[in-house]
C-alpha cells in the first residue's frame, strides 16, 4: 500500500510541476514578446540603437535559460526560436524597420507556439 501511495503522490507532484512549468513558460514568452514589441516600436520611431538593445536583452534572457530550455523543450523548437532572435537583430542592425517588423512577428509567433504546445488543450493532447 505504501508503494501505491508514493506512486499517487509522485503523480500529483509531477502534475503540479507541469502546471508550474506551463505558468513559467507563459510568463517567459510574454516577457520576451514584450521586449520584442518594445524593439519594434523603437525601430518604427527610428531609434535603432534602443531597438537593438531591447532585442538583445530578449535574446540574452532566452540564451541564459539554456539549461531549462534544453531539458523541457524540443531542441528543434529552441533552435528555430534562437535563429528568429538573430534574424530580428540582423534586421535591426541593418536599420530596416519593415523587415524587422516581419522578423519580430515571426519570433513572437515562434515563442507563442512554444508556450501553446505546453497548454492542456484538446488540440495539444490530440
Amino acid at each position: 500500500m505504501k508503494k501505491e501511495l508514493i506512486a499517487g503522490a509522485v503523480l500529483i507532484a509531477l502534475f503540479a510541476l507541469s502546471l508550474l512549468n506551463i505558468r513559467f513558460i507563459d510568463t517567459l514568452t510574454a516577457e520576451l514578446s514584450g521586449y520584442v514589441d518594445q524593439a519594434l516600436d523603437f525601430a518604427e520611431q527610428g531609434d535603432f540603437d534602443q531597438a537593438v538593445l531591447s532585442a538583445q536583452t530578449a535574446a540574452d534572457r532566452w540564451l541564459s535559460l539554456d539549461y531549462y530550455t534544453h531539458i523541457c523543450i524540443r531542441h528543434s523548437e529552441i533552435n528555430t526560436a534562437t535563429d528568429a532572435f538573430y534574424d530580428l537583430l540582423g534586421e535591426l542592425y541593418a536599420e530596416d524597420a519593415g523587415s524587422a517588423r516581419g522578423a519580430g512577428e515571426k519570433l513572437k509567433a515562434q515563442l507563442g507556439s512554444i508556450a501553446s504546445i505546453e497548454h492542456l488543450t484538446l488540440g495539444s493532447i490530440l
Binding site: A7, G8, V10, L11, H70, R74, H75
Partner: protein, 227 residues
C-alpha cells in the same frame, strides 16, 4: 556520440529500476495492463536515444508516469474483483468434460490448431481426457485432466516418502551467503567441517554448495581446484 552513450546508460538504468519497482510479475506471465506498460515503457524510453534533439525527459517522464499508474492499477486490481475483471478480464473454459466449447473458442478467437498446439506443449493429445482446459487472463492455457488420467503421486501409490524440503544455496560461485546458511539451520562450524571434509580451505574455492532440510549436501568445486 558521447551523448547517445550517456543517455543510453541513463535510460537503461531508469527502465531497469522501473521494471524492478513493478515487481517480479513483469518478468513472468504478464496480465494485459502489465504487458501494455512494459511495451510502452520500452518504446517511449528509447525515443531520446534515437534523436538527441528530443530532451531526455521526454523519455523518462512518461516512464515514471506509466510506472506510477501501473502500481496504482495493480493495487486496485488486487483489492477489488470488479476492477480486476474490468482490467484483466476473466478466464475462459475452452474444454469442459472432454468437449471443446465452441462459443468460448470463437469469443477468444482461439483456433483448433492453436488449441492443439497448446495441448501438445503440455503433452496432451487426447481431448476426451481433459476435464477442463482454461485460457487464463495472461494468455496461458492450463489443463486439468480427469482424475483417472492424472499421473499418480507417491501418496496415491501409498509409497513411503521423505520430504527433503528446500535446498538452500550456502555458497554461490565463491561467495558465502550467511542468510541462507542461517535459514538452512546451519552455522559456521558446520560449514567449516563440510569444507574440511572436502579438503577445501576457503568458500572462494567452491562453485556451489547447497544443503536441504535432511542435511543432504550438494557440493561442486570451482574448475581450477577440481581433483
Amino acid at each position: 556520440m558521447a551523448i547517445i552513450m550517456v543517455r543510453t546508460v541513463i535510460v537503461f538504468i531508469g527502465v531497469v529500476v522501473a521494471m524492478r519497482l513493478m515487481g517480479k510479475r513483469q518478468l513472468g506471465e504478464l496480465e494485459l495492463n502489465e504487458l501494455v506498460v512494459a511495451v510502452l515503457i520500452s518504446d517511449i524510453a528509447s525515443h531520446p536515444l534515437q534523436d538527441i534533439g528530443i530532451p531526455l525527459m521526454n523519455g523518462l517522464l512518461p516512464a515514471v508516469v506509466l510506472l506510477c499508474c501501473e502500481l496504482i492499477i495493480a493495487q486496485a486490481t488486487m483489492k477489488k474483483a470488479a476492477i480486476r475483471k474490468l482490467v484483466c478480464g476473466t478466464p475462459s473454459i475452452l474444454v469442459q468434460n472432454g468437449v471443446v466449447m465452441e462459443p468460448e473458442m470463437r469469443k477468444n478467437r482461439f483456433t483448433l490448431d492453436e488449441l492443439a498446439e497448446e495441448l501438445r506443449n503440455q503433452s496432451v493429445t487426447d481431448i476426451s481426457k481433459i476435464k477442463y482446459a482454461i485460457l487464463e487472463t495472461n494468455g496461458q492455457l492450463n489443463v486439468i485432466l480427469f482424475a483417472e488420467h492424472r499421473p499418480a503421486t507417491v501418496g496415491d501409490l501409498n509409497l513411503p516418502y521423505e520430504d527433503k524440503g528446500y535446498a538452500h544455496i550456502v555458497i554461490n560461485d565463491g561467495e558465502l551467503l550467511p542468510n541462507n546458511l542461517q535459514k538452512a539451520g546451519k552455522d559456521d562450524k558446520w560449514l567449516a567441517r563440510e569444507l574440511k571434509k572436502r579438503d577445501v580451505k576457503s568458500p572462494k574455492q567452491v562453485y556451489l554448495l547447497s544443503v536441504d532440510k535432511s542435511g543432504s549436501v550438494y557440493y561442486q568445486a570451482k574448475e581450477k581446484v577440481k581433483k
